[in-house]
Symmetry: C2
Subunit: 332 residues, 2 copies
Amino acid sequence: MKTVYIDIYGADIGPEPIIRGALTALERYADLHICFIGDRDIITAAVNDPQLLESRVSIMHTTDYVTNDEPASCVFNGRDNSTIVMGLTALKQDENAIGFLSAGSTGALFVGSIFRLGLVCGLKTPALCSVIPCCDGKLLALLDCGANMDCRSQDLVNFALMGSALMKSLGESPAPRVALLSVGREDSKGNKLTQEAFSKISALPVNFIGNIEGLDVVSGEAEVIVADGFSGNILLKTIEAVGKSGIAAVNDALKTCDTAAKADLEKVKARLSVSYDFNPYGGASFLGTVKPIIKMHGSATEITPSSCIDQLIKMENANYRQGQIDALSLAQ
Amino acid sequence: MKTVYIDIYGADIGPEPIIRGALTALERYADLHICFIGDRDIITAAVNDPQLLESRVSIMHTTDYVTNDEPASCVFNGRDNSTIVMGLTALKQDENAIGFLSAGSTGALFVGSIFRLGLVCGLKTPALCSVIPCCDGKLLALLDCGANMDCRSQDLVNFALMGSALMKSLGESPAPRVALLSVGREDSKGNKLTQEAFSKISALPVNFIGNIEGLDVVSGEAEVIVADGFSGNILLKTIEAVGKSGIAAVNDALKTCDTAAKADLEKVKARLSVSYDFNPYGGASFLGTVKPIIKMHGSATEITPSSCIDQLIKMENANYRQGQIDALSLAQ
């Protein structure tokens, strides 16, 4: 049995769609068990199936959750009854647990992943990794995408190793192409941090293809893009914002267009949505933790928990946890 | 008389379209004089108008120019006959000179702007500033966009002051809204550099609206976005790449679409082009120099020099040079 723990709070759409969306994954995975963490009454009503609650769905009752306005450090020592701390503790203690999903405070998950769950291989910090679609429908792992603002070059080395291991385990490539986010392709381009990281990553046994610049990140040249969390976050959010503005332009045209134009406009919309609608991917993984955590976006939709569970199952089936440890040991 | 110096080399399309494009500006500005720097024969043939060459167009003959493969430092001490050094020297010495356009090596222009032209107010480095279109057709100044990789917070303060002065002189706003590129809106978000810069910029007499994140940069909330050159370059190139991919999707659809759909697709293309086709803006300005330099993109088209001249004339008419000095003196 594989158990996924799910914090029902934190999404803009409220707990019910998160619960309903997660349940759809039970149909795909016969050995999946889901444990929802949150208010018992809300969960029972949303599941609305006594037989599931007998067999494949369990509940950890609490009504406390960490809000985005609270300091992340509140989970460091205390808040034992918050959904995030309960989830991280269960993830650590339950041998069947394969992952934890939460749309709650990223900061609390970050701090909690270090102090409540634990990191592997003596890491000082986990990486936050977004897996997003790329121009040709393939997937792209971007890390760090916003957890580590000021990085050392050794952090970027660890990101390269963990990102490569992740994309292997997700079946994207046997030798994922790893690129370093910079301002030009030439080896010497970049700031002090990336210049130092460039030579270190070059020495790793990963498929390092060198620097990549903003113009090329959506070109499909790399499966893994390594960045400090500040520039990685700017990259991720800018792709999303500009991509969305393209989809919005087509949507506006669809409202007033000639009937004969609908089909062609829908085709353009579909093509842009494949690349820039991040909702089906709606989460970012913490890597380097002893077991995977996926932070769902606040804007998660009903399909988000289901696709996040897909990712956790893939990671578990490919033994990502061991793959990550093997990869990181190469950096020591 | 206002003289603009133009390096004819460096653009992918070659010198002739750059020359022809620049000439169109003569029709708009009766007191404009253009001095082309490059091979006399090429310039004479492209201008192809003896009367213009008698009156409003002059030539500084040379066949030497700095390539992108050469170290930028070659202009520090030497290469006196290269187009870039000749242009910067003329810009400094000719009292009528109001600006210099070049599609040549950004690095050579950067080094040359410091050692051959000079900076104002004791600045240690110029800023590279791109003025790009924004979602609502307004303009947005982004600086630094790639010249200064590792910035101090004082650099970001100077960028805020110079960017605000530029957008005033371009007539975009009497009190341009200045935002600091970061990973979230809250004051405390960001890395050490932006956190330090945030409090310093808050104390300036500019219209500082706080942090802006990747999701909002194309929203039209700010007229000036301040960033270190590393993350600014990533922002700029990512907007361009994702925007272009949207235009490309529409172009592909236009090739195969129903005839009745053409008009609606063209409308979408026009809307996306207004925001994401940077060719009409095709240059980035060095700010903080004693006189303005505009670096045209390598991908400059025939309309690029003409629109860059528009910008130089606007800056001159609004007395940008003095405005910049006045602004920077507020930071001392």
